[in-house]
């Protein structure tokens, strides 16, 4: 039960984060908003890290540099997400973001890129993606 609550809160926070970035962008500009939220988020995460002393900093050496660089994508992610919210609203942008996200993850899975174990797309995944795209089309219908 508590797990469900956490998951629901997690999803709500993700939407809230996108909206907050869009709102701050109206006043400060988009790159400024992206820099500000991540700077303050970084400080808080660092404090949590120091408080719980959780993690293994020496292990960073064992991760490929390419994977370490993943965090920098967030700049473009936030910028694009804010622009999308401004242009088409929160619902439509969230829907399209989710589809692209799931599609990329499953492409990578099916080809076994980045050293992930290869996994075959099965019929339910194709039907699922099809339904999701149909949902966005219905949404955009005028």
């Amino acid at each position: 039960m508590r797990g469900i609550l956490f998951a629901i809160l997690g999803g709500a926070f993700i939407t809230f984060q996108g909206v907050a970035n869009a709102r701050i962008s109206q006043d400060l500009g988009t790159w400024q908003a992206a820099a500000l939220t991540q700077c303050t988020g970084f400080v808080v995460a660092l404090l949590v890290l120091l408080a719980f002393k959780d993690g293994h900093p020496r292990q960073f050496k064992r991760v490929k540099p390419l994977y370490l660089a993943g965090g920098s994508f967030a700049a473009i992610v936030i910028f694009s997400n804010v622009k999308a919210i401004e242009l088409v609203g929160v619902t439509f942008s969230t829907s399209s973001v989710l589809i692209a996200q799931l599609l990329v993850t499953f492409l990578i899975d099916s080809f076994g890129w980045f050293g992930l174990p290869k996994q075959q797309m099965k019929l339910p995944q194709f039907i699922g993606i099809g339904m999701m795209i149909a949902g966005v089309v219905v949404m955009g219908w005028r």
Partner: protein, 161 residues
Amino acid sequence: MLMGLLFSIVAGALVGLQNIFNSKVNEHTGSWMTTTLVLGLGFAASLLLGVVFEGGEMFRLNMSSMQTWYWFSGIIGVGVVTCVVQGVRRLGPTFAISIVLITQLVTAMIWDTMGWLGLEKVPFSWNKLAGVLILIGGILVFKLGGRNAKTTEKVHIHDSI
């Protein structure tokens, strides 16, 4: 409409890629270590791109338009990580991430309809509700429809969206 879709696709594709990279970092270093790194790099990249595209304008902040809560918006990201990690730990990735995605959509629709935080209101419509319901059905079929336990689903939605 088209531009909005294009921006969404760029964001979604990069989030998908980033989740995979982040989970690789996470396997070795732990979730708070990863979160700190991810946010720190995201900050550096935003600063850099801001300067590239806007030059000195990047630092000409109009402090009078700065509301107090803007300073605390970064905490939301920390809330995201905490909740998603806890959810996944208790429910397993497939079930937890399904709930996360569905809640994202439902709250998005509520937000559009209410126009909270002074965001432009996008009025509720029945076809939007129908679209969201079909989409949620698609997520459930996609996530719960027979597939082996997956590694990439150990995602930590560390960031951004």
